[in-house]
Amino acid sequence: MARAVQTELDYASRLEHLRKRKEAQTAEKLRRLGYMNEDDYGMVLPPEDFQWHPKPNHPNGSFYGLPGWADNFCDLMDCHPVYVDPMDALAGRYMVLLNRVRPCRWPPEFAYPELEPDQERYGIISGIGNDAHFAPDYRIGLELGWGGLLAKVRRYRAQHGPDKAEFYEAEERVIRAVQGWIRRTVAAIEEAAQRETNPTLQANLREMAEVNRWLIEGPPRTLREACQWIAWFNMASRTYNRDGAGGQLDELLRPYYERDRHAGRIDDEDAIFLLACLLLNDPHYYQLGGPAADGHDQTSRLSFLILAAAHRLKSTCNLTIRVHDGLDPRLLRKGVECLLEDRKAWPRFSGDKALVEGFMRNGYSGELARQRIAVGCNWMALPGLEYTMNDTVKINAAKVFMVAFDEMLLEDPTPSVDSLWRRFEDHLRRAVLCTARGIDVQLDHQHLNEPELVLNLLTHGPIERGLNVTNGGVDLYNMCIDGAGLADVADSLAALQQRVEQQQRITWQELAGHLRNNYEGPEGQRVRLMMRTGPRYGEGDSLGDRWALRVSQLLTRLVTEQPTPGGRRMIPGWFSWADTLRLGKQVGAMPDGRRAGEPISHGANPRPGFRDDGAATALVKAIAAIQPGYGNTAPVQLELDPCIAQSEDAVETITSLIKGHFDLGGTLFNINIVDADQVLAAHKDPSLYPDLVVRVTGFTAYFANLSPEFRQLVVDRLIRAS
């Protein structure tokens, strides 16, 4: 790559241009699409005159199955606008999410009416019809390239019978469609190069064209080609179904970087710019450091360059540093420095010691367990080996609890916490069983609904076997079930035990009356305050802490004690994603003082205000204690005021917090360094801070793009924490 000329078009100014352009694109997305209570994506809006409509293959107006998805994806690829920015090192942006244009996500032929009563009753997000949420193995694509993948598909097609022909035909078409998209982009790049008058940019465009021309068929040979290949796969996969799982980026790219450096093709500044362009292309979930399969630490020079790239980019980012006993301490330190300086809520940190040990409890080897990485908001997956339904399956524990509570008051002449607990256990067992049966529905039918035609390509097994990843394409099915509302349940049980049973300040029936009235009126207000000031989860060795542990142990036991009826293993976690609002609307007033319809508690976190001092150590200790411990996560979401960054000890302080949490069994650590005053101002007028980025739950997002309701959630959490 030509070294950048020291003009106004040096790497710094180019990145500035690219970042500003992304901010403008984000603002435009907000204007045209409205609020987005989810990850920031690399998606850009198509040109205003771009029109594309899917072709249904079902009377209900939707499309399903192999032909439906292949037809529509390929049709979209054939006319998908091309995107070339001369300032960028990489070509392309995606503009459509195919999985969101269907009017009906699940084929009515596979309806599951027998599950719906309990799904509604317990606030179960079943995951049925959800897609992606497992991890590809990028090495497959980097080794083969698109041409190699096509050859692989054809090779295995020839080995199977006509019963698999439709599958292989669909896979071939998908690859050729992506190749066509790249081919048209090459033409656009060449055209732009001819028009470009700036020599630096012209040279860049010519190299971009050369890179992409090669990548139509060939596997990447250089760092730039590898970054571009990953970007194309990411764009295709996002277009198909919003897949955002990344991979162990430092290890994936290290061979290309080292070869390029050895050959004198690039220097570190070139590498940083390429990496920044990859991170800008889309904020996939990339991992740095951590243990290799044999246990050695994977930190390399490239790990630091990736951090440097993200630092210079100053945009949304989902980098995770995998912390383990052998981690190079300099990588952890540098990650924390970035977190404190840039305040974009990255990196986050995974506790690989507990994650590996936990996953091994399922009967897997350490070698396999060490390959599992955090490639989503809260979720873990083995690249290319495992199907998981991560982060798509949730049980609203708060709702289950209130079902038990209401039932007890109706049926039990002598209500008690013990009685309530037994009923809660019974209902949670039913909820888990209903969820498990829903998982089986997904696994039995999803390939007929939405085959993973893009992710199959980077998965070990589907192409070899002619089977979609969801129905036998892989050997490992570890289905993720997350509980939501832990703190609400724990605090409610603690408040009941203290105020009703121990102190007898209110009777069960009196309290039930106030719950039905949503704590209205002066007496209701008083009762609400009484219940809210009970012993809280997070205080430290409180009744609330003990109940939280018990609730988590119960969910863990119920989820792990037997597989789904179809024989699939389930792994528990605690995470609510962006569903705290939606799940909260399903639940009435609760004994912990929560009012009807308010958001449920977030993930594994105690409710804000759990301690007067809001001590971070108490928070992370509490969350470490309730970890289910089977290899999925119950993340910490921590907000810290920027003043903490003033101290010379700041890096050591944060590092001690992270390491302490992981030593105690923690699994994932998200930190926001956000000024509460700034957030309040941005909440009133988001246009004041268009580049304010927060980690909302597991994902980062531009604060301005969140809905007011969602912004309020973040504000409440931040203000209480400050």
């Binding site: 630092h311 003033q646 010379e648 001690s656």
Partner: protein
């Protein structure tokens, strides 16, 4: 079993010594600094703070009180502090936390147990800090807590005013790793006027402690109208330059957050409002305070960082050639 009165135990303290610490705040102080923003720590005995804006008018406090200390005039709550015996019955019924008890009697063992809760986070530099109020007003209790921490291998620090005979201070020597002390003003007459005590013992005790080869952090709360002049800070710095064990000199800008607490404690008129020095003033004072033998910090931050909570990201120089593996 040694016991004493504390106001609270704060976990995740990052401004009371190095690393992550748990700070134990003891109640009572023999000094009376005019600008004190923690008036609830001045008296040793437990007290009640009243926050009328939180009251919801439920009258549960009046029903619970056996001493007629609570009365309602319509919805307005009247607290007769002079009748109150601080039994705490009213607080148990006030869910709005309109009344808050300040000061509880605890054993040293229970305090140490609470300090140990955060032991997983103390490495490499954190530990326990005893603060207040003034810890040496409860010297035996303070020493018992420090002994308990030392037995558990916890790094110990103490924030004391050192305005005591050396015989009171000396028992701390084997128990404390780090001493944090305020020097507010070098001029003794001014010191007496503003704090109620002489600074002679403070400075003398500092010299004695310095001879023991134990680290010292000095702090000056910078209060406009009291001690913000260059020559005042310069005089302190000149004194510190004569000591060998001072590692850090903190300039702590005064803040007025304690004003409301005086009313909550029924202390009549609060002290006059003081003013916080400006950023430029603190810059100047930090430069005046600088000496080769210690680091100057402002509000806990190194000189180059303190003003900018939103620091210039370009100062983060991620240089792979310096920071990475070869």
């Amino acid at each position: 079993m040694t016991s004493g009165v504390i106001t609270h135990i704060q976990r995740f303290s990052v401004h009371d010594g190095p690393g992550i610490r748990t700070t134990v705040f003891l109640k009572g102080c023999q000094m009376h600094c005019s600008w004190c923003h923690n008036p609830e720590t001045l008296r040793r005995q437990p007290e009640i703070q009243v926050f009328p804006e939180r009251c919801i008018g439920c009258r549960a406090c009046a029903a619970a009180c056996q001493h007629a200390a609570h009365e309602f005039n319509g919805t307005a709550h009247l607290y007769h502090r002079q009748r109150c015996v601080v039994c705490g019955e009213c607080i148990e019924t006030c869910y709005a936390q309109s009344m808050v008890r300040v000061g509880e009697t605890r054993t040293a063992e229970s305090v140490v147990a609470e300090v140990l809760a955060d032991r997983p986070f103390y490495q490499p530099a954190g530990g326990a800090t005893i603060s207040g109020g003034e810890p040496l007003l409860q010297a035996e209790f303070t020493c018992a807590i420090l002994e308990g921490c030392r037995r558990e291998g916890i790094h110990t620090a103490i924030e004391t005013n050192l305005a005591w005979p050396w015989t009171v201070v000396e028992p701390l020597v084997p128990l404390v790793d780090l001493l944090l002390v305020d020097i507010k003003i070098m001029d003794d007459a001014a010191h007496r006027a503003w704090t109620g005590v002489s600074n002679e013992r403070i400075l003398d005790n500092l010299r004695r402690w310095d001879a023991l080869n134990k680290d010292i952090v000095i702090r000056t709360p910078v209060v406009v109208g009291v001690n913000e002049r260059r020559e005042q800070i310069g005089a302190i710095a000149d004194f510190l330059a004569t000591l060998r064990q001072v590692r850090q000199y903190d300039l702590l800008p005064y803040h007025p957050l304690g004003q409301g607490k005086y009313a909550a404690l029924g202390r009549g008129d609060p002290p006059p409002e003081f003013h916080t020095p400006t950023a430029a003033e603190l810059d100047t004072l930090a430069a005046v305070a600088a000496r080769p033998n210690y680091v100057v910090k402002v509000a806990g931050a190194a000189l180059r960082n303190w003003r900018n909570c939103h620091s210039d990201p370009e100062r983060l120089d991620i240089n792979p050639t310096q920071d990475t593996l070869s």
